[in-house]
């Protein structure tokens, strides 16, 4: 143990050299020091706990509370409405549309954006001249804010005079897209997806590249010696070994689509006729444009529950082995 300084990162609590803590929940320090440990640990934890309590946990509880009231946002919520807001939510075609649009974006991301990002990562994982520059270029949009991306593409997709129309107008097949983009209810959501792809493509590519670099070359060599061609090596070795990274990127795509706001707000504010509206946009509309805070809180709660249920199920069934020690598997051991 003394020899490894920073080399092999242990994924679990390391055994202590002389005195071993008794097995149980409190591992990692000699038993005698435990009480004092708890007292001073409190001081170390306090700033983070207070911040988290006041600005993450309490707001979520407040949202639950106010969602049971009809409330304009001023004074105390007094007009108790029970489940009215939720009943209204369930019957609201815009909210139901939000769910479908969210699902649409998630499905497109998984079906289009992620495979292309994976292909590009595999491509850029090979030795080639200018590889570092290519990577930096693909990643560049990720560091720009969604507001910048939104404003830029709002201008690029201007009907009639924008860059996109000029480029596409005289082409076969795609020429019919000219004049539509964000201004047509039928094409606005796919256009939004295109901008999302532009912005987040490089991020997914980059985490795949990191995952690919974690695959030991010996395994691929061994497969190659056994007579596996490039496609079989990809299917049989690379893909399974990359599975944890893929699962994380799917997770991030879904959570990202659930809370999508900036890009929509800057490009279309949800229009035309709600065709690009997301849950977060609907919430903002009701909360800060129409001052129906109770109803808007119900939307917040719905977003919370959807992401919570999704996360738990996903963690339970997909991420279990990947997230050692993070959420589900306490302390990295089950």
């Amino acid at each position: 143990m003394t020899s490894t300084f920073r080399g092999s990162a242990p994924t679990d609590d390391r055994p202590r050299p002389a005195v071993r803590a008794p097995r149980g929940r409190a591992r990692g320090a000699p038993a005698g020091r435990r009480l004092r440990g708890w007292m001073s640990a409190t001081w170390f934890l306090l700033p983070a706990l207070l911040l988290f309590l006041f600005f993450v946990l309490i707001p979520i509880f407040v949202a639950f509370y106010t969602s049971f009231f009809t409330w304009g946002g001023f004074g105390r919520p007094e007009d108790f409405a029970g489940l009215d807001n939720y009943r209204k939510l369930a019957g609201d075609p815009v909210f139901r549309g939000d769910l479908w649009r969210g699902l649409f974006l998630v499905v497109l991301s998984i079906a289009v954006q992620l495979p292309v990002a994976l292909g590009t990562a595999v491509l850029l994982n090979q030795r080639m001249r200018g590889r570092a520059v290519y990577r930096a270029v693909f990643f560049a949009p990720y560091i720009l804010s969604e507001v910048i991306a939104g404003v830029l593409f709002g201008i690029i997709f201007l009907p009639g005079t924008g860059l996109a129309d000029t480029l596409v107008r005289d082409l076969p097949l795609v020429g019919g897209l000219a004049g539509g983009w964000f201004s047509d209810a039928g094409t606005a959501l796919p256009t939004l997806f295109a901008v999302m792809t532009w912005k987040y493509f490089g991020f997914h590519m980059m985490i795949y590249l990191a995952g690919l670099q974690g695959i030991p070359p010996e395994v691929l060599e061994a497969a190659s010696i056994d007579g596996a061609g490039p496609w079989r090596r990809f299917r049989g070795v690379t893909l399974p070994l990359l599975a944890p990274t893929l699962r994380i990127s799917v997770f991030l795509s879904v959570i990202g689509s659930i809370q999508l706001f900036d890009l929509v707000w800057v490009t279309t504010t949800g229009g035309p006729t709600h065709s690009t509206e997301t849950m977060a946009v609907t919430m903002f509309q009701f909360g800060f444009k129409r001052y129906q805070m109770g109803y808007a809180s119900a939307i917040s709660v719905a977003m919370f529950l959807i992401s919570m249920v999704f996360s738990l199920l996903y963690q339970r069934y997909a991420l279990r082995r990947d997230l050692q020690g993070a959420v589900t598997s306490a302390g990295g051991r089950r």
């Binding site: 490894t4 920073r6 990162a9 390391r14 409190a26 990692g28 320090a29 435990r34 440990g37 708890w38 001073s40 640990a41 409190t42 170390f44 934890l45 983070a48 911040l51 988290f52 006041f54 600005f55 993450v56 707001p59 979520i60 106010t66 292309v116 080639m128 001249r129 290519y134 270029v137 693909f138 949009p141 560091i143 720009l144 804010s145 969604e146 507001v147 910048i148 404003v151 201008i155 005079t161 860059l163 000029t166 991020f203 980059m206 985490i207 990191a210 995952g211 990274t245 990127s249 991030l252 809370q259 900036d262 800057v266 977060a280 919430m283 909360g287 805070m293 992401s307 996360s311 993070a326």
Partner: protein, 275 residues
């Protein structure tokens, strides 16, 4: 030999085609900033003639732009200092102490990863109003730090765990307090990890729009993303000027990326694989 040359050529071509989708919009933005709006709409593809610098120089000489940059810098730095300080202390406790409820608290923080900040924005607004923190940079800094805690704690904890316990025991034998060990030995050793989480926090804060939009209505405190949106509303038909504004707003982000690339990517991949 020839086959591999052809393969390499086709690889490059493929990357160029894909890359052009990324690059063309950016080049278009930089070039369009030099046009008049008339030129921009009649000929979006061509080069400007003559190259007009007044869009850029006009913005650079306006106080609003610089004030927004200043606000964004101030808020990002404060958020980052607060996030990293609070998270490092907590990660130290999680990595080094055995105490009752450790796993519960860690799970609580880690669960924070699953909550989209958009969920909390509305009640946060109500809460900040009752604390009197609207139109106050603290109203953005504190929640941003709180939402950055989970990922920061997770990354730092896993780094702190790699530092051998013997070191701590030796330091304590030599009369170092727990906090002294943390402050004088652990933190300096953790510099690479601290760099990574700092860069992550800065970028997240810099790009944040939703919260500053709600909290900072007073133009005095507006950050750059909110400023862009305001500017777009104000000059909605002067496209060339709006584009020049966003191009200038890109510069700090791109410059920062150039400097901190390694840390940023390290952080994202660590964050992504650790949860």
């Amino acid at each position: 030999m020839r086959a591999s040359l052809a393969r390499s050529a086709s690889r490059h071509t493929l990357v160029w085609v894909l890359g052009s989708f990324i690059v063309v919009p950016l080049l278009y933005a930089v070039v369009s900033g030099f046009k008049t709006t008339g030129d921009l709409t009649t000929d979006p593809v061509g080069l400007p003639s003559p190259w007009k610098v007044s869009n850029y120089t006009g913005i650079l000489s306006s106080g609003d732009f610089w004030r927004q940059i200043g606000n964004s810098v101030m808020i990002a730095v404060a958020t980052t200092v607060l996030t990293v300080a609070a998270a490092a202390l907590a990660a130290f406790a999680f990595a080094r102490y055995a105490f009752r409820g450790r796993e519960f608290f860690f799970t609580l923080f880690a669960a924070g990863l699953m909550f989209p900040p958009a969920v909390a924005v509305l009640p946060l607004f109500v809460l900040l109003r009752s604390f009197g923190l609207l139109d106050d940079p603290l109203g953005v800094i504190l929640p941003q730090a709180a939402f950055a805690l989970p990922i920061t704690i997770i990354i730092l904890r896993s780094f702190f765990r790699t530092i051998p316990a013997e070191l701590e025991e030796a330091a304590i034998m030599d009369g170092c307090s727990r906090f002294g060990f943390f402050w004088r030995i652990l933190l300096p050793m953790a510099r690479p990890a601290l760099g990574t989480v700092s860069v992550l926090a800065i970028v997240t804060s810099w790009n944040n729009f939703f919260l500053p939009l709600l909290v900072l209505a007073d133009p005095k405190w507006q950050t750059i993303p909110v400023g862009i949106q305001q500017f777009q509303g104000q000059y909605s038909t002067n496209y060339a000027l709006v584009i020049a504004y966003i191009v200038l707003a890109m510069v700090p982000a791109v410059a920062f990326y150039a400097v901190a690339e390694r840390q940023l990517i390290g952080g994202l991949t660590a964050g992504a694989t650790k949860g």
